[in-house]
Symmetry: C2
Subunit: 530 residues, 2 copies
């Protein structure tokens, strides 16, 4: 089998001075897939970044409509190749073809691209501000260099580095993208890159609008994110890798947005625990086991008060965990990493209630694992007891009393989400009022009576949160247009002659529908000058 080509500066070509090769694995059969992919050298990085910079320059004279057409055409290309994508993603990730890949994740992906197209066309995302009396005007604009996107292993479509949320957001804001494939699904990513590249050429975009490399040695990854000509980086993946990339980008003053680890605590307050334990136990298991527990918003931590209701709830949850067959994990390292996570938890005082071992079978799998720990033990080392075990692994914390529930919320690290289940008739309102404000500042999205998995792609979504969930508490990775704000710079124009202004901040509203903040009021009207 010959070496797969990279896509650099508009050419599908042999990786230059490739430093190694790798193969993807079929996790359902524990077998290498036949295709051989290159580990790119710093030469590929240099070439891609330089071409990306040139593309960014060319994009300055590209209309938002053209970018919207590209994103729409890309969505169509994906739909035309849906079968092929589903087939290879299933081979590379063991995620079910139906409903997961074909009927859930693929439509979500094309929907995101179409939302991004619509945002590009609408232009309101650029937050035009016009102060007519001073003639100072500002808007957000692209970064002037390509955006590097590192995608995660767990959403081969919706978070794919060459088709997912970061790709859509970066492109819609007018930036070229350099996709660094997740090494667990290079074949899937290659098809996306083909579909995206074809769409870019069909709509007249620069030839380096979309570029693809598959893998980099860490040092070359650092080069990419800190390169003087790179615009920014979007990364979704492990905290281990994310923190190192962040350090490299930070040192160079380059923006980097990371989505790293999160245990997404769920607090089941006493009234709810008494009122509907079976229902909540079922919901908890369903959420914990989605995608074999490999979701960013997987609830890895649940908190209840100690006592009979808590023990009974534990029993119910445990039944679900032990009654259900473990699903295949995304890759070879899955069982090892889960075991390491569980070992850290048990070392710090957690006890295994059910599960705890690698599961037998043809594929990589690990038993559904439920653990328990006392509030005292949790508070003795909250950081260690929030170790993320990326699988169907949940730690139930038994708090002594309300004060301790509050203390546990205070010990929670930055997370993507945090939630409360409370009594429907208000029995938990007092406790809620004490604990919710503490949790509020630790999480990006606060939920009521709802598990955290399932991230709606809507403008109000925040798929973000304080460090170490992400690298900055003010940005979201999901939700159009908010997610686009990561990939742009604030551009102010002071007394710039009117005909030289970007259309979005000229007197006339360029789309008639675009929202602009003119002299302090949001309006779709033109600027009225005295």
């Amino acid at each position: 089998m010959s070496l797969q080509p990279v896509l650099i500066d508009g050419n599908w070509e042999r990786s230059e001075n490739s430093v190694d090769t790798f193969q993807a694995v079929n996790p359902a059969e524990k077998r290498d897939l036949p295709e051989i992919y290159p580990v790119s050298s710093a030469d590929d990085v240099e070439r891609a970044v330089a071409a990306g910079k040139e593309a960014a320059d060319q994009l300055r004279s590209t209309s938002p409509e053209q970018i919207a057409d590209f994103l729409t055409k890309f969505a169509e290309n994906i739909e035309a190749r849906a079968k092929e994508l589903v087939k290879i993603a299933n081979l590379e990730t063991a995620l079910a073809k139906e409903p997961r890949l074909a009927s859930v994740e693929l439509p979500r992906t094309t929907n995101q691209l179409r939302q991004a197209a619509s945002a590009a066309r609408d232009r309101s995302w650029c937050h035009a501000i016009i102060d007519s009396h001073t003639n100072i005007r500002s808007k957000f604009g692209p970064l002037g260099g390509a955006v590097a996107v590192f995608g995660p292993n767990n959403f081969p479509f919706a978070f794919n580095s060459c088709a997912g949320g970061d790709f859509a957001a970066a492109a819609a804001a007018g930036n070229p993208v350099i996709a660094k494939a997740n090494t667990s699904h290079p074949g899937t990513t290659k098809i996306f890159a083909q579909a995206a590249f074809d769409a870019s050429q069909a709509t007249g975009l620069p030839k380096a609008m979309v570029q693809l490399i598959y893998r980099l040695k860490p040092a070359d990854g650092f080069k990419l994110v800190s390169h003087p000509l790179i615009g920014a980086t979007g990364f979704t993946g492990s905290k281990y890798a994310g923190v190192k990339l962040k350090e490299a980008a930070d040192r160079a003053g380059k923006p980097i947005y990371l989505e790293m680890s999160s245990v997404n605590p769920v607090f089941v307050l006493p009234g709810a625990l008494r009122e509907r334990p079976s229902e909540i136990a079922e919901e908890l298991y369903a959420s914990c086991s989605l995608g074999a527990g490999q979701f960013c918003t997987n609830p890895g931590l649940a908190v209840v008060q100690a006592g009979e209701d808590g023990e009974s709830f534990l029993g119910k949850v445990s039944e679900h965990f032990s009654a259900n067959t473990p699903q295949t994990l995304l890759g070879r390292n899955g069982p090892r990493d889960i075991r390491a996570g569980i070992e850290m938890l048990t070392k710090k005082g957690a006890e295994i209630v059910t599960g705890g071992q690698e599961a037998d079978g043809p594929g990589y799998a690990f038993q559904n694992t439920l653990l328990r720990v006392s509030g005292d033990a949790f508070l003795a080392d909250p950081e260690a007891l929030q170790t993320e075990a990326f699988g169907t692994v949940t730690l139930l914390v038994f708090a002594r009393d309300t004060e301790q529930v509050k203390a546990i919320a205070g010990g929670v690290e930055g997370n993507l989400t945090g939630g409360f289940y409370t009594h429907t008739q208000g029995d938990d309102d007092d406790i809620y009022e004490q604990v919710a404000p503490v949790l509020r500042e630790k999480v990006g999205r606060l939920l009521n009576d709802k598990m955290p998995t399932g991230v709606a792609v809507v403008p109000s979504m925040n798929h973000g949160g304080p460090y170490p969930a992400t690298g900055h508490p003010g940005f979201t990775a999901v939700g159009i247009p908010a997610a686009m704000m990561r990939f742009c710079a604030l551009h102010c124009y002071d007394e710039v002659r009117h005909h030289r202004l970007p259309a979005e901040i000229q007197d006339k509203n360029p789309t008639r529908n675009m929202w602009r903040l003119i002299d302090g009021s949001w309006t779709q009207k033109d600027v009225e000058r005295e």
Copy 2:
């Protein structure tokens, strides 16, 4: 003279385990001022951060109106103590009492505080987004810990760590502030801290809403900005100190916003150079010499095309530089730092046209200094030739041709501003079209036919720019409400019961005037639910 007290957790008290002391200097007389200030230890940092966290918790139940009242009352307290403030700031900085301190900077400062009060009251800044069909709602909210503010030496009022733009923005967004005084004007900062603290107590805010320390050893500064309980940091000052603080904050995943160095290039295109050289030369000198050249937006770099017009322009600028008496600098290190900057420039090929020496007289001063360099020499080491000499020092670059003008724009680092002077009848439009897009992405604010000094405090302002002008290209340090966005986190509420939602995202518009993005449209109406 006894040691001046710090303000920690509501008490004016002796610095705990202070590691050293210092005195401010009267730069007009090169003499130490009598008051003795402590260099705080890590103990003061710990106490202030802990108290700040407690204050942040208390602020959760403080209404925006109360915060607005505080900011308004603070502005009134400043006005009541204006004479005192002007007197001590003049002693500590040698800036003129009139018009600069009393009639320009003080009103700007109180105006900023009142704008911040108005933004807090209006609430539109929090960018409420409501998607009624999914019942997901989001808004920006405070960070949950105090904001540390490091102010610069050059604006003792308007950028004061305890009264200036960062203070106003952080407080209006609902955060307590820990002010780290600029060590050149500790006495000025102390009066602001008194006025702010008094206002905070008169309006019922937490006792640690405002805290003050005067100076820290570098290691303790790193502790402050990276502390687990700190919310974020706003820093205005040198690149040397800023980069080190950034590294400490970044490593801890704590947001830090920096305004560091900027040479604010001004491109005078050939038509303008031919059309109105005297006028532009006069404007350039006026802008260069404002505040003895110690403005963040001081034009330290001007670019013209080589030839007769350029030489004649140089002559005119040089006349202004040599005809005017140097003003007193802000402090003891001024002459030394300017000399070091000039040495770097001349080492790399710049020639001194006029000035170049420390000026005689009773105060710290340096001759107005104009330098020249060829475009070739500039492009051989653009970074070194953008060394900021913080004074009335400007380097005129002579570009060979239009191509080289464009190359010079490409060699410009991240800057706060960049501007063009062009022919009034359009003779320069071709060149502008080639060069402006290149400069656009290097600067936060792009100007036409206007010098960069003079930063209007309006919503559309961007006092920011790509690294190393600041640490992130998406944020501004001036302009309300935009500057507030640095000091908040994105808070999403997913199916949170209606009575538990913050007022800003409940169905009813809490102020009737607040702008909210409901189902994709900006409106001041209530949510209409089917």
